[in-house]
Amino acid sequence: MTDEVERRLRSALTARAGQITAERLRFEPPPTVATARTPVRRRWWAAIAVATAAAGVVLGFTLLTGSPEPTPVLPADPGPGTSPPAPAASPAPSFADPSPSPPTSAPATPSKAAGSTPSAPETGPETSAPAATGTRQVTAKPQATPG
């Protein structure tokens, strides 16, 4: 009687297993291919990230070193005799302002200073307050750059 249960059990298991044929199995790649996909894809993403970072470094390096050195803003050279500002030496009776020199330098310096404002932080701490003394900045920079 135990043999009968065992025989039926064997028969049922064999019949059920026999229903599974190779044609019924879905396509699955071998393990070497299936598991190789994920790391390769991950490595591709790493390669793209590295390439992007390298491009960023190259671009930044090019922008920093390739751009010309900001040329110091020189005032329109009025001549050797008038280069030192002498506020007290040139009286201008027509203006109420106590400093008479601004009318000659004022049209040149504010416009050029406005154009060179992005490069101002690179020049150094000596130009940290350009708005307060516009004429002092102009006169100090040519002396600093040749050296």
Binding site: Q19, I20, P31
Partner: protein, 191 residues
């Protein structure tokens, strides 16, 4: 200044990477690895074994694929350090099937059983009445009892091999099989 940057090395690296991708897509670039040969020769019988333990074909295929993937990740394509790959696979399928059944049982506690958890109707119809009755009774056993019977009466393993596969003692295998057969006998109305 740009020529200083290692562009040739970068290009060579990317070339090697794409060649690796192509080789992976082809499958076996330099001769079939041992694990792929094992996969092609043993996959069907392992899926059958898994079907007898978990009932439905998709879960059985997942189980077998996971076992092969784990084998490859742990031992590489040449199966270094594996003395008996077949025993390793049978043990892996048995354990994975048990885990799948446990997950299914947990899921059943919260939701209705999915329709694919039982054999397809056409599969049932193709079986004889006696076989259907036996398989129905087999589904009522515990996971361990069912595994012991499948390994004993379909895989034709000895008690010692079943004990090694399930990592239990031979006495446990013997008593589990005896108890399972008694339950089947009761349910099938035999004495």
């Amino acid at each position: 200044m740009l020529s200083v940057l290692p562009f040739p090395a970068l290009f060579a690296w990317l070339r090697g990477l794409s060649a690796e991708v192509r080789a992976a897509g082809r499958g076996d670039p330099g001769g079939a690895p041992a694990i792929n040969e094992l996969y092609h020769s043993r996959r069907l019988s392992l899926v059958r074994l898994a079907v007898l333990m978990v009932d439905d074909l998709p879960t059985a295929e997942d189980v077998v694929q996971d076992v092969f993937t784990a084998l490859y990740r742990r031992h590489g394509p040449d199966l270094r350090g594996v003395t008996d790959p077949n025993a390793y696979l049978v043990t892996g399928v048995t354990n994975a099937a048990r885990s799948a059944l446990r997950r299914r049982r947990t899921a059943r506690a919260y939701a209705a059983p999915p329709p694919e958890a039982i054999p397809a109707a056409e599969d049932e119809a193709l079986l004889g009445e006696s076989d259907r009755e036996m398989l129905r009774a087999l589904r009522g056993l515990t996971v361990r009892q069912r595994q012991v019977l499948v390994l004993r009466y379909w895989s034709e393993l000895t008690e010692g091999e079943i004990a090694d596969t399930l990592r239990v003692s031979r006495g446990t295998v013997k008593s589990t099989a005896h108890r399972a057969l008694s339950i089947l006998r009761e349910r099938l109305g035999e004495r």
